[in-house]
């Protein structure tokens, strides 16, 4: 526990799962001159604890414009007021703006760390393969080229496993280690929507959007699975296609147990 986190003796730690429409935010993390989701939630928690400052530790950052179904963040409470979890959920949701809502609140051990204890995450990228729509354009990417879903699926299989994903990282600092494991990439169709779900032990900055840009090129018939493999092996961002836009991307779940990670199913996380 850092002194930055809280000025009072730690009493309880709560883990929140937070859903948000990222359209109007700079992402999760507080940035100068932009409104962050973290800020909105912290302000309301701080008010609820009578002005005692509450600091949220998020499981990661999310980029500006990216959405979340189950972003994870934890905080330490002061001794008083000791507010039960169901009351925290209702009271915070009443005060949050319409585009941010808590999904769950539960107590975790004091030593729990939302970032370091995470065993992985699931992200889903949603492609709209049909007509444009006023009700889904903020939540989907509609590629210009006609997509062959089977080609997306074939290329996605090349990208799973344990690899150096340097070809799929943006604004990488020199000290970052780019080796990650992607356990699964599921490609599923629901009517005119194609959902590409990435389950991994962790993802680098803009990595999913970079991977998705490559899968889109594969779906358009511009890259064979073999070409995708060569891009992966090049460990060079300049050889991979453009980064996909943020608005099609959802952080679906942060895993804290191996069972959660192995058992993740997109169908179990409602999109509404």
């Amino acid at each position: 526990m850092s002194i930055e986190e809280t000025p009072y003796e730690p009493y309880k730690r709560y883990l929140l799962e937070i859903a948000y429409d990222g359209t109007n935010y700079s992402g999760w993390q507080i940035q100068p001159h932009r409104v962050a989701v973290q800020q909105r939630v912290q302000e309301i928690l701080t008010k609820m604890y009578n002005g005692q400052p509450i600091h949220l530790i998020g499981s990661s950052r999310t980029d500006a414009g990216v959405h979340a179904q189950r972003f994870a963040a934890s905080y330490l409470t002061p001794v008083r007021p000791d507010i039960p979890t169901d009351k925290i959920l209702r009271a915070v949701n009443r005060q949050l703006p319409g585009d941010i809502k808590l999904r769950t609140v539960r107590e975790v051990p004091l030593e729990f760390h939302a970032r370091y204890d995470a065993l992985g995450k699931a992200y889903t990228y949603v492609l709209n393969l049909g007509d444009p729509s006023p009700f889904t354009d903020r939540y989907t990417w509609r590629p210009i080229h006609r997509m062959d879903v089977e080609k997306i699926r074939a290329a996605s299989q090349v990208l799973t496993g344990t690899h150096d994903y340097s070809s799929f990282v943006v604004e990488r600092s020199l000290i970052d280690e780019a080796v990650r494991t992607i356990y699964r990439i599921d490609v599923q169709e629901f009517g005119q929507f194609c959902c590409v779900t990435f389950v991994g032990n962790g993802f680098l900055y803009k990595m999913i959007r970079c991977l998705m840009g490559t899968l889109e090129a594969a779906g358009a018939g511009k890259l064979s699975p073999e070409a995708v493999r060569r891009i992966l092996e090049a460990c060079d961002r300049t050889v991979a296609p453009e980064t996909a836009p943020p608005n099609g991307l959802f952080l679906m779940k942060v895993f804290y147990t191996p069972e959660e990670r192995a058992g993740f199913k997109l169908e179990n996380v409602p999109f509404y």
Copy 2:
């Protein structure tokens, strides 16, 4: 054809079906100091016809914040350029903002009138009976009270038929005739969402939202079907409950044939 509509000899008339997320608009109709959907679409059409002013005639107004799946509006074209319907659809959609899209474009007789020829409309009001959500709050109303869907259904049956709906009209001008026919009110559940669909020959200003306010009170157990009948028969707005908020309301379809009106099914109009 009024001289206001077009300054050129009429050549063809097209009927557009337009979907929009009403959140950021003053409604369909152009109003001083607010951006209207009509304005956005007209600007793009006028540009497409090389600056020859295009005037859209809408089937009705929609209130600020109300959404549409199939709003209907028509316009007369100049002789040149003569643009095919599929090209109009694609070209206009490319230029429209993400929250307005054309669904269909078809040629209709020159004498067709989008308002006077309409034989009725279907509106759907969406209630969220579950937890709040960042992804549906702009498209649903979440009543504070627990809803009994059977009570909503029972009360809705009282409101169908041919009646003077004066108890459910806001800002009514004295010359308005308030007799309308509601053919059906369907109450359907889809997971945590309850959709109330009104099929009628026409609706007065804010009439659906007023009816929905009364159905909500019925769903909360505050009004029996008999009490709803007394409100209807009173022909007095002051005896009915509050008007429901605009964001749960969708104009689903405008009917120009009796067959369309009789055969309307919510399931056939996708919400995305």
